[in-house]
Subunit: 326 residues, 2 copies
């Protein structure tokens, strides 16, 4: 297996990425790593192929910048992925730039109508995770594209979380059939009329059912998916701030915090996007994993692990085959 890693793009830079790779390599040996970045900052990184790239793209770079700055770590990583036919490429650089450039350079996989960006949320009631896609690769999607996301998400669940019976739902503004956006309603019919051996379609879910509901995979158009992701992040963040304020509000609550500290930190780690790994572009010819820009070494290592698990299960191949049989 071959994984290509952009070592330079994150907020914390090459040192963090190096620690992340080392953390990953402690537990995984059956993989060839290509680490792309400034060689002088990566000299003591062992067990990987170092590939020199002199430039770093800024976080707000656009897809055109990626194509222009041929010597940036992100651009080199993407072209190297293509040349090597590598399984996956990982970057903590700017989201827009990475995803658009990944689509341009790696190209859509056969039978895929539109690549989708997928994110994994914890399910706080059932345990396990729920995969949501598309969370923002596109800002609109056709019913056929939304229906295809179901298969991609199901394969993701099977590969990463070893789930055998995957329940897929459609994000809507009500649970009854007949609810949904115009495209969503058509996608509902497509999903209902074309059952798959890889998942069960269980109908509509609402935004409030994502973190505590029945669905293992939630499909939607990229615009709504982005609203879902960002609102959930925003609410979790606001609750975190409020919680801190509540605990610092008085002498007694500060004492309370000391006693509850362990529970609170377990709460934080469960809501922490870094614990999950990152968002993932499915449906191009290699997996493109976008680690959080603010990733620490653990989060970056988790993103590499996510790519590893998906590559090991030949996710891209399974998506192509699956769509070929539909």
């Amino acid at each position: 297996m071959k994984l290509v890693i952009d070592m330079m793009g994150s907020d914390l830079g090459a040192k963090m990425a190096k620690e992340g790779v080392e953390l990953f390599l402690k537990n995984h040996q059956d993989v060839e790593i290509y680490a792309v970045g400034k060689k002088e900052e990566l000299t003591d990184l062992k067990g990987v192929n170092l590939v020199e790239a002199k430039d770093i793209l800024p976080m707000d770079a656009g897809p055109l910048d990626v194509m222009r700055k041929k010597d940036s770590s992100m651009t080199k990583a993407l072209f190297l992925t293509k040349e090597l036919g590598a399984d996956a490429v990982i970057s903590a650089g700017g989201t827009g730039a990475f995803l658009s450039a990944a689509t341009l350079i790696l190209k859509k996989a056969p039978h895929v109508l539109r690549p989708a960006l997928a994110a994994s949320f914890p399910n706080f009631r059932k345990g396990g995770h729920v995969i949501c896609l598309d969370i923002g690769a596109s800002n609109e999607n056709s019913p056929e594209e939304i229906a295809q996301f179901a298969l991609m998400g199901a394969i993701y669940q099977r590969a990463v979380y070893s789930l055998s019976h995957v329940k897929v739902a459609l994000l809507a503004n009500g649970t009854e059939e007949g609810k949904g956006s115009p495209e969503g309603k058509k996608a509902f019919q497509l999903l209902k009329e074309n059952p798959s051996s890889l998942y069960e379609f269980i109908g509509n879910v609402e935004g409030k059912d994502v973190l505590e509901g029945e669905a293992d995979v939630i499909v939607t158009d990229g615009f709504s998916g982005n609203i879902l992701l960002k609102s959930t992040e925003g609410a979790a963040k606001a609750m975190g701030h409020l919680l801190k304020k509540a605990f610092l509000s008085s002498f007694f609550s500060k004492i309370g915090y000391l006693f509850a500290k362990k529970g609170i930190s377990s709460l934080k780690s469960q809501m922490d996007p870094g614990a999950i790994g990152g968002a993932l572009l499915l449906g191009v010819n290699a997996l493109a994993v976008k680690a959080h820009g603010a990733s620490d070494a653990r989060a970056f290592s988790n993103a590499i692990t996510l790519a590893y698990l998906l590559a090991k299960e030949e996710t891209t191949k399974k998506i192509i085959d699956g769509l070929n049989h539909e």
Copy 2:
């Protein structure tokens, strides 16, 4: 001022509604209340006009049920609102039924392209509130409709929270101009090219900026707005569950809870939808306030107060006048 109240529709029934009305009347005298419901359950409610209605609509009733069951409290309340030319109607009954029937019976106000359902969120950074609309009256909206929501939301902010400089933003999947759904992008241009004296258009916001951002009013199509509302609710609820679990996880964390109790309950009340009042249908010929189905007396009283404040400021008239001048 005339307010019409459906006393029967909530989960907790007439007793809760009665207490809610009494709570409201303690602080407000300049208003005529029409309380619609089973007279035998409302006999000791003083200072209101009792109007008999023998039936109660179930929570899952559809709009057609409202029209058919002429003797249900919700249907009677809506027709009475129309007959009296009342300022507002309040119900804690089924959302879909109430809102669709309100639109059918009370009719769209002049110059309004499409009524919008508005909800008020707390802003945890700036203080105050942010009004989001449409959060689900429609499941799609034209750019022109979305642009009209800006004016409705600004008038709501001015009436209820006495804000003089109202900042309006458009919900999108990124803050830059050019982000957004196809309709959103056209709405952006309309808002940019048609400045209003009642608000300032500040561009796009993301889902994560709702609770801690700059905007006082956020406009979007009803489908995305519903996703925003429900995801935020869902995340807050999940965090609440996690918090409880964290505190009950050990003997020491339980002690921590005792000390932090006051802070936690202030946290809860800030995230409590009941503290806000309810969702509100703007753009029909009377204000239609939907209290939460699970409202307690305080939440129901808050919903009546919301209707009162909006009616006192002649919100409906201001919307009609405002749209007439645009």
